[in-house]
Every structure is written in C-alpha cells, then in structure tokens.
C-alpha cells in the first residue's frame, strides 16, 4: 500500500472526483524535418497555420457560448498575419519553421505572463494553445487521448484540449494554472472539479486519487478511512447543491418564521448583470478597489460615477451599500498605499483615504452624484474612533455644497461604518452618528484573535465563531436593535453554513454574501429554528452586560 499523499491547491471549480491519475503527456516531439530553402520553410509554416485555423474553425462550429468565444478568439489570432510575418522574417534569417514559430509565440506569451493584470496573464494559456496547434501540424505529433473518469494531472492544460475531452466523472489537478484562466472558467460552468496551483510533487501514473474540492486537496493513494470521509463529504455536497438551487428566488425565512435579509457582496459592477435582483434584498457590500487596481492609474470621478450608477440602476430601489476604497492590508495599490512593516495594523481603509484628500474627494463627489439614482448607503472601512466618521461626514458635506454651487444634482447618502476593529465592536454606542453598522467578520476575527487570516497554520485560531468574536457580534446586534440602527454582516462567516446558525442566535438579521452562495445561505437559514431560544436570545436581553453575554455564548458553544 503506497503512502497517501495530500497536496493542497487553490479551488478553481468546486466539486469532488475520484479516479486514477492520468499524467499529461508531452505532446510535442521535436520531429520537424527541415526544408531545403527558406521559401519552403515559410510555405510549410503558412500551410500549417492554415491547417490549424481550419481545425479551430471546425471546433468553433460545434461549440457554444463561452467555449465558442474562446475558440473564436484563438481562430482570430491564427488568422492574423502578424505572427506569420514575424516568423517569416526569422525563417529568412535561417531558422526552421518550427523554431521560428516557437520563438515568436514564446515572446508573445512572455509578454502576457509579465502583465500586471491577472486577466491578461491568464490569456497566455490561449496563446500556448495557438502555438501548440501549429506545432502539432508542423511535426505531426499525436493529440493526447485522456481516459474518461480520470484525474488529469498536468502543469496546465490548453483550452482546446480541455474542450475536446468529456470530463464527466473526472477532474483536473494543475500544478500551475490560474483561478481566473479560461480553463478554470470553463470548468466552473461545466461543473468539473478543478484544483490549480498544486506545485511540484512526484506522482506515479494510474494510482487512485481523490480530488476533494471542500478541502482544496488532491489525495493520492488514499487510505480507506480517508476515502470514506471523502464519500461522505461528496454526498453532502451533492445534496446541498441540489437543494440550494431551489432556494435562490425565495425570501429567506427561518424554520420558526423569522425573516432574514440576504444581500449580495459584489466586487465589480459588471457582476450584477448575472444576479437577478429578485434573489436579493440589496447590495450589502460593493467594493470599490477594482476601480483602483489598474496599471493605468487612479480612477477619475466620471468612471467611478458610472460604475456606482450602474449598480444603483440595477437595484430597483433596494439598498446599495458602497464601501469607500479599502486599500492597504492585503490590497496594495500603486501610487496610493504605503510600504510598511505591518500593513494590517497600518495605513489602510479610512486612514489612508483621510490622509489623501485629493483622491478621496473624487470618490465622495462620484458617490454624492450617484446617490440620486437609488437608495445609496456609503460604508467606511477600518474605522477605529468616532473622529474618523465625523471627519468623513464633514467632507461629504463640503463636497455636497460644492456640487450644489456647481448646479450638479446630488443626494446625500446614509453614511455608516464597518465593524471590524474591536474598539467599535466593544463600544458601538460611541458611533451614534453612523446610520448603519456592517460587521466585517474576517478582519474582526483576525484582530480579536491576533491571528492572520492568510496563514494556513493559524486556521484553527482565526475562527469567526470563536466565543469572543460571537460575543462582540452579539454586542453590536444588540446595540443596533435597541437603538434602531441597521446591523448586517458581510464577511465570509455569513456564507459559512456551520456559522450561520450562531450568527442568527447572536441577533444578526441581515447577511451579505457572495452571489454564488445565495441559494445555499437561504437553504441553511430555512433549517434554523430560533423558536425555543427566542425569548432568551442575546439580542433580547436588554440589560445583559457584556461579560454575561460572553458566558452565555461560551456555554452554548460547548453543547
């Protein structure tokens, strides 16, 4: 019995697969035969590019949707003379057709790989595919045939190879790869379990393996015990997915009839195009970092205004909560954030924007102008003391009167804060000017437990359902209920099925979650019975003091 091997990667597409490992073959045997003249070389290349174009065009005809788009893009690349012209120059200088093609494409691929933008980096895989298709035509190499139901282990995979194989029952385990690549996207749409970024390790061919999407792990030669756990997890996953599908378009209600608001988190305005508005009660968190993350520089007022307006236009009067730019920490932005020893405890969020009034001003103006298009709420990240809120409100007022003088339409939004620094969670009443509170459970957890959320070794510490974290959440929910201030939670805990019941117990009534989790969160809520606990819920204990709450939650947790 070989020793089990467990390799952790990144999840590119959810799911579970069990099957034999199929090691990718090196498809390109260098068997190209040189021609007598450079003209013959150039002709050979032109012919093979035409062959590759023809094959791709055939694939386009049989493909649909995004697969067709990808192939069409590759076809357009093949039909463009730019590569052939560059390669022909090299051929004239003495290179063989295969080497010339390889050199031109490798250069281009390197250019994509060096891009700052992850999207363009991911396109390198398409160019590799284009390169290989022509090389296969030149050298006559055979195309790999992958046995059905196997787990395909490779550095990466060409989109065309991915599309030419029926992956049902199998999965992909890639040593490199990217979660934003075409293959990852296609795998998600087809529901093919896929892990990327597994790195280097030695693996024999044909051994049995499990691809565990839940643990984001590839398990080679699993023990019987691991296999049983895997089967159980897979059954639960399949059942949950099936059930969640039926809940997306229903209102979220617990088993005992308590209505819960489920809102959506978005990172980019274009996402709303795929979210039916009737599935959500609004946007609980719209990030704005996407506007700031580009190599082309910091965004102007107009481009921000259009981005905010787009989401407000989609929302049909439901609340849209937009967070002012939360740079710093794990989100550095060139020309804006600072290099520092301890970025999570440094210049980030509202601290950074208040220090850069010229940049913040444009965002405030864009928000004020967008406010006329719907129910806008503006949320400030990383607030630690009330003065930061006061100062921001003042700046909104200054910009509002400037817009009024310019005769530009605007609407003052509700201004609220994130609850992620313990100082706010402990004494929320100091922030009475905040129109609403939104608990950022990821940062709150890491600050309460002094455990980085990015370090896998601290995963057991950095838990959002730690009693201390839950007590703070209950404290905030209680404050909100007592004073009529809306409280929501927008961290990952809100879509964690094991934590949702505890959050509702703590008095949270609004969750904001990723679009892909809406059905799952609603189906989880439907199973929760707050009935018997309702009278004693922390939330209703108007006079319970803080330490008492901590005690209650602690004993609940031990059950």
């Amino acid at each position: 019995m070989p020793t089990p091997l467990e390799i952790k990667g990144q999840l590119a597409s959810e799911g579970f697969a069990a099957g034999p490992i199929w090691l990718a073959q090196d498809r390109l045997v260098p068997s190209y035969e040189r021609k007598d003249t450079w003209q013959a070389e150039a002709q050979a290349l032109a012919d093979c590019v035409a062959t590759a174009s023809g094959q791709t065009a055939e694939l386009v005809e049989n493909a649909q949707g995004d697969a067709a788009d990808i192939l069409e893009f590759q076809l357009a690349m093949l039909e463009d003379d730019t590569f052939v012209e560059a390669a022909t120059e090299l051929i004239e200088a003495g290179l063989g057709a295969d080497m010339a093609w390889r050199e031109v494409l490798d250069d281009e691929i390197a250019g994509y790989e060096a891009s700052d933008d992850e999207y363009f980096r991911a396109r390198a895989a398409d160019l590799r595919d284009v390169k290989d298709r022509v090389l296969v035509a030149l050298t006559g190499a055979a195309v790999e045939i992958i046995p059905k139901g196997s787990i395909y282990l490779a550095d990466d995979i060409a989109p065309s190879l991915f599309l030419s194989h029926d992956w049902s029952g199998g999965g992909l385990a890639l040593r490199d790869g990217s979660v934003t690549g075409h293959v990852a996207m296609l795998a998600r749409q087809r529901g093919i379990p896929t892990l990327v970024g597994l790195g280097d390790f030695v693996c024999p061919e044909n051994v049995s393996a499990l691809l565990h999407g839940g643990l984001q792990t590839l398990i080679v030669s699993p023990s019987e015990q691991i296999r049983q756990q895997f089967d159980l997890a897979r059954m639960e996953f399949d059942a949950a997915r099936l059930r969640a599908q039926n809940f997306s378009d229903r209102p979220a209600v617990t088993d005992d009839g308590t209505a819960i608001s489920v809102m959506v988190n978005i990172a980019d305005p274009a996402e709303v195009e795929n979210i039916p508005i009737q599935h959500v009660d609004g946007v609980g968190l719209m990030r704005t970092e996407f506007l700031f993350g580009h190599a082309s520089g910091l965004p102007g007022e107009e481009i921000q205004y259009l981005a905010y307006k787009k989401v407000l236009d989609w929302s049909r009067g439901k609340p849209v909560t937009i967070r002012t730019v939360d740079a710093g920490g794990d989100k550095p932005i060139r020309g804006f954030t600072e290099d520092e020893m301890n970025p999570f405890l440094g210049m980030r969020g509202i601290r950074l924007t208040l220090k850069n009034p010229d940049i913040f001003r444009l965002q405030i103006r864009a928000l004020l102008r967008a406010g006329v298009h719907g129910q806008l709420k503006v949320m400030l990240p990383m607030v630690a003391v009330p003065e930061e809120l006061d100062e921001t409100i003042k700046q909104f007022e200054v910009e509002a009167s400037a817009l009024a003088q310019e005769g530009v339409a605007y609407q003052m939004p509700k201004i609220g804060i994130m609850v992620e620094i313990p100082s706010v969670a402990i004494l929320p009443n100091r922030f009475s000017k905040a129109s609403f509170l939104s608990i950022g459970s990821n940062d709150l957890t890491q600050y309460v437990l002094a455990a980085s959320r990015d370090n896998g070794k601290l995963a057991d510490l950095a838990k959002a359902d730690d009693p201390a974290v839950l007590a703070l959440i209950a404290n905030v929910a209680h404050y909100g209920a007592k004073h009529g201030v809306d409280v929501s939670l927008c961290g990952d805990a809100g879509s964690d099925v094991s934590i949702i019941p505890k959050l509702l117990q703590a008095g949270v009534t609004t969750l904001s979650v990723a679009a892909s989790r809406i059905g799952l969160v609603k189906s989880t809520i439907a199973d929760i019975d707050l009935g018997s606990d309702r009278k004693s819920r922390l939330f209703d204990e108007a006079h319970a003091d803080f330490s008492h709450k901590l005690g209650v939650l602690h004993s609940d947790n031990k059950k």
């Binding site: 357009a76 690349m77 250019g111 599908q245 990172a267 795929n274 996407f290 580009h294 481009i303």
Partner: protein, 107 residues
C-alpha cells in the same frame, strides 16, 4: 478623409479576448486605414490586427484614441467608438468568461 476620437474603456476587464475579437472584426468591415493608441503613448497600431489590439493589454480605465484615414473614416471611427462605449455589447449572460472564483459556482 481623416477622423479621430477618444474614449475611456469602461468594460470591467478592459480590451480582452472577446472585445478584441469584436473590435477587430468591426474594424475589418471598413476599407480605410484604422489605428489606435492608448494613454497618449503616441504609438499607433493597426486596429484590424487582433494580435496587436490584444497585445496592448489595455485594462478598464484606459484612454483609447481611435483614428481613421480613407473611405468612410467618420463612420468607422463612430462605429468603433460606439462599440467601446457600449462595453462591447457584453450584457446579460455574456460576462462569466471573466468572473472571479468567489462568484463562480452559482448555486
């Protein structure tokens, strides 16, 4: 006849694969010479070559200059301007090609 226009790319991932295909296909329907440059670099490239258009790697927020010289230059520039302005007509259902993992496994 010469025509020129400027426009900011608002499509969220910029001038990427699918928009580049649409852009070059549209450019090819005109007989005039069409060129583009980005962010005032003064490097003009052929708007009909997808390799070159994609090769600019222009993200959202990029200022795109489009110029045309020859027959129907005005129409060519207006058509391409419109395409960029409409986010390359990528609407409902067309976006998942670029979606992020967190939102990918739609339940």
């Amino acid at each position: 006849m010469v025509a020129q226009t400027d426009i900011v790319i608002t499509h969220r991932v910029g001038l990427h694969a699918r928009p580049s295909v649409k852009f070059t296909k549209l450019a090819k329907t005109f007989d005039c010479k069409i060129e583009v440059s980005v962010n005032d670099t003064d490097k003009w490239i052929d708007a009909k070559s997808i390799v070159k258009i994609m090769g600019m790697k222009a993200p959202a927020g990029t200022q795109l200059h489009i110029r045309a010289d020859g027959a129907a230059a005005d129409e060519a520039v207006a058509a391409l301007h419109g395409l960029v302005e409409r986010d390359f007509d990528e609407r409902q259902g067309a976006v998942p090609a670029d979606e992020k993992i967190a939102d990918a496994n739609s339940a």
